[in-house]
């Protein structure tokens, strides 16, 4: 199952991209109430969005980005039917990627 839900809609040449990623984005500052142990930091560090082999956005995140992070941005040069790929990697080296078609 992908951790990434995306939508990309084009209007008048501008594509609006929205993504919601499932990820705990743990800060490393919170104690588990049951065990009393600190839950280790576990957060997405880098997100790369690509369109036709070009990187349209790179996001670098710290643990202050909210759990299940949301991202939206806009770009020109896309067309209906094109795909946008989002890839992320976190501080543990875990990663995921997915693609969406521009409508």
């Amino acid at each position: 199952m992908s951790t990434i839900k995306m939508r990309a809609n084009i209007d008048n040449g501008v594509t609006t991209f929205k993504a919601l990623i499932s990820h705990p984005m743990e800060t490393g500052l919170v104690k588990d109430k049951k065990t009393g142990k600190v839950i280790p930091a576990h957060f997405i560090q880098e997100v790369v969005c690509e369109h036709k082999g070009n990187t349209i956005l790179t996001a670098n995140w710290g643990p202050a980005v909210s759990k299940n992070p949301y991202l939206s941005f806009r770009f020109t040069g896309g067309a209906a039917g094109d795909t946008i790929k989002l890839s992320w990697v976190d501080n543990k080296g875990e990663k995921d990627s997915s693609e969406v078609t521009i409508k």
Binding site: T55, T58, N60, L71, S87, V89
Partner: protein
């Protein structure tokens, strides 16, 4: 070694070295990333250090051409929606800083050539503070801030 062979050999070894380093630090496809994750910036415990680590300066120029959309009062400090837009020409990156978080730098976004200078995301805020948006454009740094009141802190401590 002939000069052509020497150049190809050097190019090959440099490329391998760079990729090796990037894979070691957990980056995505290194060539696709517009900016490397800066440990120094994200672990900085005050705004000036974060700015210095990111931009080499801690004195951005104040600008009213950066607009921050954020709630005046955040009901839930764990999920504060922030949008930043700017019409400064040649904006290459937008960074979001929560002034009073333990580590103030929350996110930076590096924009590709056809990408609008607009980003929207949600961040955690530990307490009422200024959200500072920093834009890098044409080799210079600009910023503006907006105070967000936080009733329930979002860093979970």
């Amino acid at each position: 070694m002939t000069s052509i062979k020497r150049r190809i050999f050097l190019k090959g070894s440099l490329t391998t070295g760079a990729i090796g380093m990037a894979i070691g630090s957990g980056l995505l496809t290194p060539r696709m990333s517009l900016a490397a994750w800066s440990k120094e910036a994200f672990e900085a415990t005050d705004v000036n250090s974060a700015l210095s680590a990111l931009f080499g300066t801690s004195s951005p120029e104040g600008s009213d051409r950066i607009k921050i959309k954020a709630p005046d009062i955040a009901e839930n400090g764990a999920v504060v929606p922030i949008s930043v837009t700017t019409d400064i020409d040649g904006a290459e990156s937008i960074s979001i800083i929560a002034e009073k978080n333990a580590t103030p730098l929350a996110a930076t976004f590096s924009l590709g050539p056809g990408t609008e200078a607009y980003v929207s995301t949600r961040i955690k805020m530990g307490k009422t503070a200024s959200v500072i948006a920093v834009v890098k454009a044409g080799g210079k740094i600009y910023s503006t801030g907006k105070e967000v009141k936080v009733t329930i802190g979002g860093c979970g401590g």
